[in-house]
Amino acid sequence: MSDKVVHALYDDDDVLLSAVKIIRSEKHHIEEVYTPFPVHGLDKAMGLEETRIAIMAFIYGCIGLCVAVAMMNFIMIDDWPQNIGGKPSFSYLENMPAFVPIMFEMTVFFAAHLMVITFYMRSKLWPFKKAENPNPLTTDDKFLVEIGVHDNEKELEKLLKKSGAIDVSIIEKSE
């Protein structure tokens, strides 16, 4: 497989979206799209697999809920029962309303933090990692589509120009 790729720059997200649809309808494989902000509907247009982060969020939330129940049961019932407001802590169930805020917060805490960590691991991001985006303009206001080249530079270039790209360049990937 050749390391040559085409970089097509776009300056509008709507143009980008229609361009992605055109490129895919011509059976070219889009390696990656770099955008300065999340473009609504881009994942569907690129035909990316549905994210499974939602089901993970649910599982993480359930874990958080269980941790909260176990934690409060240990702290407030088993380890050091106290009589608070005339409600002695002898039973988790009877004191449950007092623990609901904690159960809720821990659910949210686990779901949120573990989701972020999952997202980082899944996208291979970690602190001090060297940025992958090939063109600093994509951190400003331009959109970049990367397509693998298989001896069809001319045809691709024509197609990309037609789809509204403001600049098309062929890059030799050095890796």
Partner: protein
Amino acid sequence: MMYTFPNKLRNLAFAFMAVGFIGLVYGFLSAPTTIEEAKAIVAANHGEGHGTSHDTPSDHAEESAHSNETSHDTDAAHSQDDSHNSGHTDSHDAEHDEHIFHQLTNKPWAALYVAAFFFFMISLGVLAFYAIQRAAQAGWSPVLYRVMESITAYLLPGGIIVLVILALSGMHMNHLFIWMDPEVVAHDKLIAGKTGFLNVPFFLIRAVIFLSGWSLYRYFSRKFSLAQDLADDISNHKKNFRISAAFLVFYIVTESIMSWDWIMSIDPHWFSTLFGWYVFASMFVSGITAIALITIYLKSKGYLEFVNDSHIHDLGKFMFGISVFWTYLWFSQFMLIWYSNIPEEVTYFITRIEDYNLPFFGMLVMNFIFPLLILMNSDYKRINYFMVMAGIVIILGHYMDVFNMIMPSAVGDQWFIGSAEIGGFLFFLGLFIFVVFKEMTKAPLLAKGDPYMGESERFHY
């Protein structure tokens, strides 16, 4: 496209009303007219004489809590004031029997009132939702405006029925509102201190003001909406925006006071500062659910072809979100009162947990756990089957919510879901269907003049 009211649906609505009416009449006729009859009914139900559940310790604790705070003389009509911790004396028995008698005569009235208020509340909730869409200049919802406007058509007839029931209470036809009884007020310092606000004329005047304010907004908003269809500028749309914003201010104040008046004052010793919000959440989620159910029904009949599954999805998100919001308020109210454990407040929940255990916790399952689990998945909000299932459970759950707000104070532990309750629900369901779908036929289902209509039709998630 104009909607035609199918005969089948019209007949169904009439059948509901007829069956409901019979149920209500039976409920009223079978209510006792004398204390002896009441005793016989209770004896038949319990099999062992009156008031078995009145011997539970917590009930006595509750009663003693009350006797500490009020200067109780004999006051049989008052629901919780039978001051007798010292066993069963003859006078107690007589008082107790009269008490049961009042609860049983209240029962059909309370059933009627719960159902009348519940369906009225749905249309009021839809009116608030509609005004929010207008005031926020929402881009997604204009395709649903005609559905919402049809549902709010029930506001005036439903409101007048509620008003008539309130006026009949004021004329002492029933004992739903014990503070309306001068005998009770004379012996109750707490209620006596509230007569500046809780007196029958002012109460009815407030009710008339609230209802006319809401109806006026509904009338003009509908008028501008219809006029916008034919107009070539958007002046009607702008007028609608302005009156909607003004209405929302009026609504949130009057809705709060309405909830104290019409519901909280049934239990005049008890108070909760977030009760207005709580009732609002209940009517809001019931209203949104009604919009979703009626929209899905109309789509299944081939109407509303411009409504796509993204609109249904958004309604599903609202149903999910406001169900959680309702639970948040329910729990906020419950936890503070449960934790502080102040007698005058906590009696409210003791009655409900002791005597209404199943409806009280059942509605929590129906209004929170069920919609939470069913509607959490994004894809399920686009599947009509799930939406309808969740919607029906939410509607019934919020009927139970209103039931739980009104019944314990009106009939005590003498509740059951009998002919009056089912009849009341069916009667007002029939009336609701009839009024709403009748209104649906009067205007095109697409508010084509709305400046956001294009955005709404293209709306996709």
